[in-house]
């Protein structure tokens, strides 16, 4: 099955495997539809409930370089209510959290989940889906103010 982004030549096998793995997990966790590389987002999961469309972006990040840019794009351009950042290791996960706190401050980061590849499970995504709020995240306004998409 073709699920990589042909435009991004720098996506290695590990990146592609993590994208596939997270897509499978999010589908098993309750998502109705999953697309790859829509609007630049690695994995975009959609859940349709009560006539509403809830969007969750999953970004596979191997470093902290593009984290805030991707996060900002997912929340502002794609209107995702929730972003899950998948890190290949615990070290990367810790550095991503530190990076997010540094750039976003101690603001409301409840709509960002940073998970490690080893922490993947259906239950994790099911739990995330259950806590998925339809209320616009305050983080979105924060990101729009601090990291406008056009800046990247």
């Amino acid at each position: 099955m073709k699920f990589g982004n042909p435009k991004h030549a720098r996506e290695n096998q590990e990146h592609l495997a993590l994208k596939k793995m997270s897509a499978d997990a999010v589908l098993a966790g309750g998502a109705d539809f999953v697309t790859f590389e829509t609007g630049g987002c690695d994995v975009l999961a959609v859940k349709r409930t009560n006539g509403r469309e809830y969007r969750m972006a999953i970004e596979v990040e191997r470093s902290t370089r593009n984290v805030v840019r991707n996060l900002s794009r997912d929340m502002t351009s794609l209107n995702c209510g929730l972003v899950v950042i998948v890190a290949p290791s615990m070290q990367v996960k810790a550095s991503i959290w530190a990076h997010l706190y540094k750039h976003l401050g101690n603001g409301d980061v409840r709509d960002i989940f940073v998970v490690c590849a080893g922490e993947f499970s259906d239950a994790l995504f099911r739990g995330i889906f259950e806590n998925w709020s339809a209320v616009p995240s305050p983080l979105k306004a924060n990101l729009e103010r601090r990291c406008p998409v056009s800046a990247d």
């Binding site: 099955m1 790859f36 829509t38 975009l44 349709r48 469309e53």
Partner: protein, 568 residues
Amino acid sequence: MNRKDDIVDPQIEAALVNLKLSKMAGTANDPYHRFLTAMGLVPFDGGRTAARFIGLQRKMLLGKAIANLMAGPPPPKIPKVAAEKGIRMGFVRSLKQWFIYPVLALCQHLLVSGPVGKGKTNAIFFWLLQLLGKGLNCVFFDFKNEGRRLLNRLTNAAVLRIDQIRENLIAPVGNTKIYFTMFAFEFCKAYGIRPERRRRFQTLLLQMYAGLKPGQPCFSVADILKCVRVLAEEKKDSSWDTLLEALEALVESLGRNAYVRSGARIQERCQVVVYEHPGMVSGFQEFFFAVMTHRMLAAAYEAGHTTEARTVVVLDEGRFALGRQMAGETSSGYVPAPVRLLSQSRSGGFIVIVGTQEIGGIQELVPANVGGFACVGAQTGAEQRGAGQRLQMPEDRWPVLASTRLGDAWFMSHLQTSAVPFSIPECKMGSYPSDAVVAERMRDTMAWLDSHTVFAPPDNEVAVPISYLKLIGEDDDESAEAPGRVPSILADHVALLKAIIESAGRNFSTSELYRAAGVTPDKGGRLKRDLIQNGLISVEKVASQGGRPREVIVASQEGREFIKNEIR
């Protein structure tokens, strides 16, 4: 200085002494002695009349008071009954022996009263398990999920909610006319329907029953509702509306049971049947109890009259079923089924055990018609008075009921001359099984019941959805059409999927589908890939004339469901 020191009048002092003596002699409530006490206080005649009455009363009381002081409470006397003919009610500590109560005497029923947590249910279970050991059947009307604990002790017990009962409650047992009279009365009493409507309803039931062909199952409650609905529309008669609403409420309360046309009696399979109906309104509970009671009575009399006990009916909380007015309508000739069960069914083989927190909470008819009365305690003065009078205790001993220890009880029956205290052993019934455990235990029984049941077709009426936001003027549809509304990110996917579903069977090519969906071939290819990845469509190869196999896109079942769940 207190009030007692103020009293210096010797006449009043003498009257007070008499009052104390009266209490010691146990005649404080005796009207004659009250009269004498009052006469001892009259102020006229220089006190001579008062002194005469005081002296007369003192002579009468002194001997009795001294005798009472010397004798103390009399030792309890218990009837001598062979162990195999009765059940152990409790252990009498003062006599160091069990109180055996004959099963035959239990046919005159049993009432247990006492405050919450004092061991009423434990006592009922202790006696019930002994009766079941003697081969009796049991019907347990359970208002607070107590009965399901019987599953821990018994293998042939069934716990059914109302909707799980597979007995058509409207199918007559015994005399048809009497049955429908009972049904109409109880139904109209429970739902507050006037007598003239009740008579019309009764006639309708009889007419519908007369219209049944041989072998045809009886109509269900839901069928009656449909018929009344049709009649009301045909005749344009709004007077049916009250009945219609009441029937709708009844169908709601009965659940799946309202659709049963013919079914099986669970009593044929299980020795103990627990009908669970907590949370129902009291009117419905009384209606249900009355209907089930009538069915039991009619079935018992059809099986033949007997002097032996056959079935134990347990009402753990009697006030739910016997709390309201139990009398029938004046000059109607109808006697409610619970009244008949308690007061007029000596040959049906029923033992009714009623538990209640206070005697005042149930109809006077119940304690008046039971042969045995047990009290596990009484807290308030009113309860003590009620229980003390039933136990035929002297008034000065009523406060003893307040200090009854947990597990102890006082018992009085028509076989005794005075109340007997005994202790009831703890009956270990285990924990309360969860709904899942009960469902698992009842799986085979429910399968058996369903295999013997004919249901009426379910009502296809679907509630018309109403948006509460629209009603109160906060409709989110309007905000959806606002400029800030985010379009669905799957709009193109849905458009392509719709085109695929609409073109089913017409062998459209892929490029034709892209055109129909209004997307470019490049974007269409990506959309198609996404839809395939999510299992909403599949691609099949179909042989074409002369050329290479043609690609046909087919929507899967998931794809069709996806379209149905289209977002607003």
